[in-house]
């Protein structure tokens, strides 16, 4: 009866999830604001602002030139219009590009010296900045796992936990601005090597004005002793957040990294344009998980974050492996395609995604699997859920290059429509340029089935509980790939985003 005991354990998790879901109201939970004195760069974007950001971070000359180069390229580029998104025109001169709490003027020596108001913000979000704590929701779990956190508030990183313990293992985990100071040779070597400055309009913008983000370096043969995570919080009004994350996994190393994002509720929209670059060398493995819960706008479509993100992993050497897992429930607009360049022979890329769009949200998201090496493998599992008036598009490219012989891709895209005013779209691009590779694609669209709902209700569940159960089942495949802490949060999010959207 061993099998049954396992069931009990899994059930225990589900039960807590159900309780979490039940205890949460149907509104955006993280919409409050931290009142704090901020220092802003002047509004608008020009070379002086780029110089100012670079100066604030005390950057070397090469990095300033790199930024200016990106800025000049950005000026010549056009905002992409191929996505199935209605994007209102963005006035880039009406934004602030740098906002920093005044208390961070002099960089605190450790997290203990950080303004208590800022620390409170993270406590309220359930993000532990004390090293003995684990992520909210798993306290009292059988084996409390340590999670190191880099806390990014508007344009600056407040600090990073477990630095010493990680350093003992040879792992570097710090904000990118610190990495520029302390490990300039690594930053110079890898920055822009996966996502070049002129990769696309938003990547160019980010390259010009990125203010902070996380840097991770795992030395050869090291298995990172704990999960790493970055929690991004946008707080200031009319301020864009442009973070840049760089992860380098040396030969035979292993790391699991999570990011979470929230923002206050505001009537005006806000811009978020991030770049994530991952370099994976021989036999290394990187797992990157995102729970994106930026403010999605209100039920009339007012406000919300415009989320334009470029994420790419380069499996540069043989048998490198990368796995993207994302749960996208927030943002008014999502434009995001975490991708894998499978350059090394036998390298592997995986992409698991749940995108939920409710009310007036628009999401155009998916992945690119670019097979360059022999015998490379990729797997895509995407679940799109639309409710209210939302539009949800899966857009994915699978490309098998001539030298990528004997490679395989499997893609499965499912869409679930709740109600009859929303839309779901699947746009797969498939290019196969050799005869020995194989690509499989499956796509389905279904409505939450009346038979399923009636079946659940006849057994005693109310309509909301029944929808949550059916939708959670639909999402399970993706949620299983998330680290446990996030899986629970994500399940709760799935239920919240859909509350009241039946019919």
């Amino acid at each position: 009866m061993v099998a049954l005991d396992e069931t009990q354990l899994r059930d225990g998790v589900d039960r807590e999830t159900v309780e979490t879901v039940q205890s949460m109201a149907g509104t955006y939970k993280h919409g409050w604001e931290t009142e704090i004195e901020m220092e802003f760069a002047p509004k608008g974007l020009n070379e002086d602002i780029v110089r100012l950001i670079s100066k604030k971070n005390n950057e070397p000359e090469w990095l300033l030139e790199w930024r200016l180069d990106a800025y000049r390229r950005w000026l010549t580029m056009e905002s992409p219009d191929w996505a199935m998104l209605k994007i209102p025109e963005i006035d880039y001169q009406e934004q602030y590009y740098y906002a920093k709490p005044k208390s961070m003027e002099e960089k605190p020596k450790s997290l203990d010296d950080v303004d208590p108001k800022l620390l409170e913000t993270y406590a309220k979000l359930g993000i532990p900045l004390k090293e003995q704590m684990v992520l909210a929701g798993v306290e009292g779990a059988d084996e409390p796992r340590k999670v190191a956190v880099d806390a990014v508030f508007d344009s600056v990183s407040l600090g990073t936990t477990f630095k010493k313990e990680l350093a003992a293992a040879g792992v570097i985990f710090c904000s990118i601005s610190e990495a520029v100071q302390d490990h300039p040779e690594l930053v110079k070597k890898y920055l822009g090597s996966v996502v070049p400055q002129n990769d696309n309009y938003f990547a160019a913008l980010n390259s010009a004005v990125f203010s902070d983000g996380s840097f991770v370096y795992i030395p050869a043969g090291v298995r990172c002793p704990m999960e790493l995570s970055t929690y991004f919080r946008i707080n200031a009004e009319n301020t864009g957040q442009f973070e840049r994350t760089l992860i380098v996994a040396e030969k035979g190393s292993h790391v699991s990294y999570l990011e979470g994002c929230t923002a206050p509720k505001r009537d005006t929209t806000q811009l978020h344009a991030a770049v994530v670059e991952i370099v994976v060398l021989e036999d290394a493995e990187v797992k990157y998980s995102t729970v994106q819960n930026w403010f999605p706008g209100d039920e009339n479509g007012k406000g919300g974050i415009y989320n334009f993100v470029t994420k790419r992993a380069d499996c540069r050497e043989a048998r490198a492996k990368v796995m993207w897992t994302q749960v996208e429930t927030g943002s008014a607009i999502t434009w995001k395609y975490p991708s894998c360049i499978l350059r090394g022979d036998d390298s592997q890329g995986e992409f698991y995604s749940i995108a939920i769009a409710n009310n007036w949200q628009q999401a155009d998201t998916g992945t690119k699997m670019v097979h360059l090496g022999k015998n490379t493998r990729s797997r895509i599992v995407s679940k799109g859920i639309s409710a209210g008036h939302a539009q949800n598009t899966y857009r994915g490219l699978v490309s098998m290059h001539p030298k990528a012989t004997s490679s395989r891709n499997y893609t499965q895209c499912d869409s679930l429509l709740i109600g009859d005013k929303c839309g779901a779209h699947t746009v797969p691009y498939i290019e196969v340029r050799n005869a020995s590779s194989r690509v499989e694609h499956e796509a389905t669209t279904s409505k939450v089935d009346d038979d399923q709902l009636f079946y659940c209700r006849q057994r005693g569940m109310d309509e909301e509980e029944a929808v949550a159960l059916v939708v959670n089942g639909f999402c399970r495949e993706v949620l299983q790939e998330l680290p446990m802490e996030f899986a629970m949060e994500a399940q709760a999010l799935v239920a919240i985003s859909l509350e009241g959207s039946v019919g």
């Binding site: 396992e6 069931t7 009990q8 079946y455 057994r459 005693g460 159960l469 399970r476």
Partner: protein, 253 residues
Amino acid sequence: MLNINNLHAELEEDSEVKILKGFSLTINPGEVHAIMGPNGSGKSTLSYVLSGRDGYAVTEGGATLEGVDLLEMEPEERAASGLFLAFQYPVEIPGVGNMTFLRTAVNAQRKARGEAELSAGEFLKVVRAKANELQIDADMLKRPVNVGFSGGEKKRNEILQMAMLEPKMCILDETDSGLDVDAMKLVSDGVNALRDAGRSFLVITHYQRLLNHIKPDFVHIMSDGRIIKSGGPELALEVEENGYTDLLAEAAA
């Protein structure tokens, strides 16, 4: 227990399609009633109207469970007050473990009745014992609800749900359809084990053979939306022997 009085129902979408046309039946606590009838006589509709499925409009008459108006309640309220329907075609729910589904259902009903929810441990103990009786193994409890189950597994799973939910009034809608002899015996044993003085059954079936295993107190023949003849178990044998034709002709005369 269950009191159905002159029930008339039609399709919500098409009021021309009248399905129940004055159906009346009283079931007392502890009794087992069987309803037989040809295809299209309204047997399944009766079970749906009683359990509250969308798509039907009741135009006349009513139904009460222990004196409480059944038709005013939401489906989940009917379930919590003790009405259970074993589906003719149990529904598949991908990604939702059978065990999770069962416990969510049990606890939803307990909550609705103001009872304490069962802990994982308590629940597991009960499920194990009952699953064993129905020869449902650990694997089947873990698999997604009804996904990839054989016909027999689906019906045994319905009975397991019934055993766990401990309803007062059980409606079995053609539970014998798609079952081989062995599966029918298992399912019937499961049902018989649940028979007691406080629990009533309404067994809807097309064939007499199920009634060899689940012995009814009363048998009713349904045709064109109402009962045309009632009797004891011998009535089922008569149908088995002569078919429905004679009975229908008799009723028409």
